[in-house]
């Protein structure tokens, strides 16, 4: 790999947005293809961040600054990427379930999903079951990710899944759940396809689920 892309990866890992922007421009000036800058520079950096986060070597603030650095690069690339076929890992619809207004965990998952190449449709917080259903119909995602931070809102995950069945869309998507009070056992009981304990694992799980189909 070129030194420039290696430096770009390091800038993302260090969360240095200014440097990441500068090196992205430099890479383009050197004639490196924009998709290569994206995947081998920016996404490569974010993948390392995901691994370190999962291994509990770094914490949420470090993930946030890395994601910001990656975004800075992506914004510079965006006009150059238009028209190019950017390979995507898949599409995921994300949201915090109805009654729950927390978004930090869900936002981290969104960043990690983008970091590994997913197109993310973020519905935000306090998302009603019918809004998830609408988004499935509109965006035809591979996956739906639901988050709940509160013990008081986790039952809404089950209700949302039931709304998917009632609307006849359950078979069209894989559903993954996460959030502080949620665990593997709970995910199984409510009939989700998967559970991830943190944002790094969520991205791995999403990739695995898309591959197995």
């Amino acid at each position: 790999m070129s030194d420039t892309l290696k430096q770009l990866t390091e800038a993302v890992i260090a969360g240095n947005a200014t440097l990441a922007g500068k090196i992205t421009e430099q890479a383009l000036a050197e004639g490196i293809a924009p998709t290569k800058v994206l995947t081998d520079g920016l996404i490569a950096g974010m993948s390392v961040v995901g691994v370190r986060f999962k291994a509990e070597e770094i914490f949420v603030p470090e993930v946030l600054i890395a994601a910001r650095a990656m975004k800075t690069g992506v914004e510079i690339l965006r006009p150059r990427l238009a028209g190019e076929a950017v390979p995507m890992a898949g599409t995921i619809v994300l949201g915090t379930v109805q009654g729950d207004l927390h978004d930090i965990g869900k936002n981290l998952v969104a960043m990690m999903m983008e970091g590994v190449g997913f197109k993310v449709i973020d519905l935000g917080v306090n998302v009603a079951p019918e809004r998830f259903v609408e988004a499935i119909n509109e965006h035809e995602p591979d996956l739906v990710g639901m988050s709940a931070l509160l013990t008081t809102t986790m039952p809404m995950m089950k209700e949302t899944l039931e709304a998917f069945k009632a609307a006849g869309v359950r078979g069209r998507v894989k559903v993954v759940v996460g959030g502080a009070p949620v665990n593997e056992n709970f995910a199984r009981q409510i009939g989700a396809d998967g559970y991830a304990p943190d944002a790094g694992s969520a991205a791995d799980l999403a990739k695995a689920l898309v591959v197995t189909g």
């Binding site: 603030p61 986790m154 502080a180």
Partner: protein
């Protein structure tokens, strides 16, 4: 039969002594409202409702303490954050109010006897202490630890970014948050409660070095101020707080509450000699499991953490509103069945 008054039982545990049995005190909030038959909104906006629901919950299950908590946003509300009040769920802030230095300069320490719902919570504590304070251990919120309150005021992501972008901004904000909680804590302490509770759900998401810089010193100041008034302090986190157990004990807190992701045997080994442990039966299990499963999980906690005293049996976090009563009864029964002292490991 239990011989000791519940308040004495918890006080002894907090002093690292052995009561007659392991005290049991899951901290119920939304469940208390539901159990009392009122909506969360009615529960968290009236001193009378809050006090009645809290006492009713402790009586229903025979808990050793009463927990008085309206919600996690009232300090931020008293400082100017507008809240969204769902009918039957906890309120939450609409938007951060401190985005610039100008807004930081304008931020004031609220008056706990005047601003927002702070006076309501003070009043609720007066009612609870008067009615059951001689018998049950009264734990009141103040509620957010300074760092957690700062996160509510600037937004969680912004607070995390400020650690890198402008730490001095964050420290100035933390000064105001610390002063807020000391003043609020003093007003609550004056009602005669035994313990005040500070939560920092978010603390498990930052590194130990960040906790040391942005949380620990401010927590310690609030805790020292409470100790001067003769009131003990509970420090609560959510999620996996294994990384920071020693640092939580370093704050000087008397009780630390932690979630079921923390190995309680490890917590006992690492900080059990310095701080009373409260926890940590999986709250999801208490919602969805059977009474037998809850009993087994509670027994496991007692076996791992009760020896020598300094332990209060509880759920890892707040039980969900629709938690089956039978499961909370099973938790309490387990304390009586397996928690008789002396207990050796």
């Amino acid at each position: 039969m239990d011989k000791m008054r519940p308040v004495e039982r918890i006080k002894l545990a907090v002093e690292h002594k052995q009561p007659d049995r392991v005290p049991v005190f899951p901290v119920c909030v939304a469940h208390a409202a539901k159990n009392y038959g009122i909506t969360y909104r009615d529960y968290c906006t009236s001193a009378e409702n809050l006090a009645r629901a809290a006492i009713h919950c402790s009586r229903t299950y025979g808990l050793d303490g009463v927990f008085v908590q309206a919600c996690g946003w009232q300090e931020a509300e008293a400082m100017g954050v507008e809240l969204y009040y769902p009918e039957d769920n906890a309120p939450s802030g609409k938007a951060p109010i401190v985005k610039t230095r100008e807004e930081l300069k304008k931020l004031r320490v609220p008056d706990p006897l005047k601003d927002g719902r702070m006076p309501m919570v003070v009043k609720a504590n007066e009612l609870v202490v008067k009615e059951v304070g001689h018998e049950l251990y009264v734990k009141s919120q103040i509620d957010q630890a300074p760092f957690a309150l700062a996160c509510e005021l600037v937004g969680f992501e912004q607070a995390f970014l400020l650690m890198y972008d402008d730490p001095s901004f964050l420290h100035e904000l933390l000064e105001i948050c610390t002063e807020t909680q000391i003043r609020y804590g003093k007003a609550i302490a004056s009602t005669g409660v035994h313990n005040v509770f500070m939560g920092e759900a978010i603390a498990s998401q930052i590194s130990p070095a960040q906790y040391k810089e942005f949380s620990l010193p401010y927590n310690r100041r609030v805790i020292d101020a409470m100790h001067e008034l003769g009131v003990t302090v509970t420090l609560h986190t959510c999620g996996n707080s294994s990384y920071i157990l020693e640092l939580m004990a370093d704050t000087g807190a008397d009780i630390i509450e932690f979630d079921s992701m923390v190995d309680i045997a490890e917590a006992k080994r690492r900080v059990g000699d310095r701080v009373c442990l409260q926890g940590n039966v999986d709250t999801g299990l208490v919602l969805q499991g059977t009474p037998d499963e809850v009993e087994a999980a509670a027994k496991d906690c007692i076996e791992k953490a009760a020896s020598g005293g300094g332990f209060i049996l509880a759920c890892g976090c707040e039980p969900a509103p629709n938690t089956p009563q039978a499961n909370l009864h099973a938790l309490v029964a387990a304390a009586k069945k397996y928690g008789r002292y002396p207990i050796t490991q």
